[in-house]
Every structure is written in C-alpha cells, then in structure tokens.
C-alpha cells in the first residue's frame, strides 16, 4: 500500500533562526503588524510503499534522523497523511 508522507523540518528550539528573524523584522514594513515567532523550515512530500502506517512512520523517522535533518540543529514533524491506492 502507498502512504503519502509529509515531513516538516525546522530548527530546534534554542537554535538561532536568522532567516525567520529577518522575515519577522520585514513584515511590519509591509503593514503586517503583530506577527511573532516566525520560523523557517523545509517541507518534504513523498510516497512510501509499506505494509501499514506504523512501519512507514518508523522508516521515515529513521530517514529523518540519518538524512533529512541534521539532528544537531533540526527537528522533524512527520505526518502520514493517508493511504492512497496501491
């Protein structure tokens, strides 16, 4: 069965995010007031063939640890968004 996967990575809490800070500082210049906590990350969308959601999640978790994120500075949020037709 194919599972659609969304992986969102972002800098860990406590790691400086200069890109997010720059965007946050720029927003008021365009009239967007009151925006705080801007964090910049990446999103990966892909399809994984697997027996069930748990095994797909375990595989993607391993993928994140070993490749998609640098665990020193990044966290990943994994969403298995549903099973498509196999």
């Amino acid at each position: 069965m194919d599972f659609s996967v969304l992986v969102e990575t972002r800098l860990r809490e406590g790691v400086a995010d200069p890109e997010g800070a720059m965007i946050e500082r720029s927003l008021p210049a365009l009239g967007f007031e009151g925006v705080s906590g801007v964090k910049v990350g990446k999103a990966f969308r892909f399809t994984v063939a697997g027996a069930d959601e748990a095994s797909v999640r375990a595989e993607v978790d391993d993928m994140c640890r070993r490749f998609l994120t640098n665990p020193v500075i990044e966290d990943a949020k994994i969403t298995v968004v549903g099973a498509g037709p196999s």
Binding site: V15, E19, I73
Partner: protein
C-alpha cells in the same frame, strides 16, 4: 615527500588551489574522486571548499554518503590527518567526524573577505608548530559558516582544547567565535577560513602557509619550505 590527497566532489571548486599551495610547500598533491572507494596511498586528506553535490538538502548532507568518505573515515580513525576547509568542514560535521553543525550566517549575508583568526590550540593537524595566540589574516567565503553545537559539546571542546581557531571579530555569529575545531585525536580539523587562499604574496596574504606546513609536517615527512 608527504602526499596529500584532495577530494573532488561534484561542485568542489577549491581543490586546485589546495594542490597549488601544497606543491609550493614541497608536498605532493593528488586529486581523489569522490566516487572512488579508496584514497590510495596518501598521507593526509583535504576536503576542499566549494558546493559538493550543489549543497542540496544541507551543505555536506549528500557528500557524506560519497563512496570515498568511508575511506576518509578509516584514515581518520587510524590517526591520519584529515582537514576540511569551508565546505569540507561542513562535510566533516555532517559525516560525524567532527561535532556540531554549520548554519546560515547570523547576518544572512554571503561573506567573502579576509578574516583575522587567532590560533587557540597547538598540536593539531593544522596548527603543529604554530604558536598559540598567533593572529592570521585568512579569507572566508561562505554563507553557512555559523558554527553551532549543543552546550555539552561546546563544554567538551573547550575542556579538551579542541577549539583550534577563533575569529578576532566574529563575522558570522559562530558560537564562542569558533572558526575551526579538531577531533579528540587532534588529527581531524575543520575550519571555515581558506588557508590555501592566503598562500602567496600575490593573493594578498601568506598567513595560510604555517597551517598548510603543519599539515605536511603531520603527514609525516620533512618539508622543504
């Protein structure tokens, strides 16, 4: 004559500068292809600057899986000198041969200019015979040179005197002004500044030469300077 192997990844762009500087110091330099699973009979390995594999995903994230990296890791584990310059430093961190990570510069600017660094630790692959406290003017050329690590890692680096170079005027936001660090065995060194770009009077500085000479010395042979 010590032989220095300089690894070429797709997207490396400083390999010939390193070769030139090594040869000028009387060493022999040999280019190593990233896709080979051996480094042959070299005494030291340099991972040069550039954009290995386009820096896709993160700088160094894909280069660490290049076949040659297993041999580089074995060379390092055996105590052989391994130096990562700029992108090479990023590769060493991603490969786990050095701790920490390099993220975007605090000012979000690509920096290409001379930086003054201070030698903070001796007896490493790049600072053997260089006095602690020596200040050197060496160019930096990076967007992701902001060194960061967990507080426990930083404490360990300090306690073991593994911060090899610090910026005198921190250009990129690196924690503790770190410009370069070494492994516990002191044979693996990574730094963001480019010693090979400060290796001839025509380049504006020869301050990189003592560092590269150290590499040749630790590579285990006499150097005709």
């Amino acid at each position: 004559m010590p032989v220095v192997g300089v690894v070429v990844f797709p997207g490396s762009n400083c390999e010939l500068d390193v070769v030139e500087a090594v040869q000028a110091l009387g060493g022999e330099a040999r280019l190593l292809w990233h896709g080979d699973d051996s480094i042959g009979r070299v005494d030291a390995v340099v991972l040069p600057g550039g954009f290995a594999h386009g820096d896709y995903l993160r700088p160094g994230a894909i280069a660490r899986f290049s076949p040659v990296m297993r041999a580089v890791g074995e060379h390092a584990a055996a105590g052989g000198p391994v130096v990562g310059i700029c992108n090479g430093f990023q590769v060493l961190c991603e490969a786990g041969l050095l701790p920490g990570a390099l993220q975007k510069n605090a000012g979000l600017k690509f920096l290409c200019r001379p930086a003054t660094i201070r030698v903070e630790a001796s007896g490493t692959a790049l600072s053997t015979g260089v006095e602690v406290g020596t200040e050197l003017s060496i160019p930096v050329n990076h967007f992701e040179g902001n060194y960061t690590c967990l507080p426990a890692t930083l404490a360990e680096l300090r306690a073991e005197e593994r911060v090899v170079f610090r910026y005198v005027d921190n250009p990129n936001g690196s924690v503790d002004d770190i410009a370069g660090i070494c492994s516990a065995g002191r044979n693996v060194v990574g730094l963001m500044p480019h010693p090979e770009r400060a290796s001839h009077a025509l380049l504006g500085s020869t301050d990189g030469l003592p560092l590269l000479r150290s590499l040749l010395v630790t590579a285990g042979a006499a150097v005709r300077a």
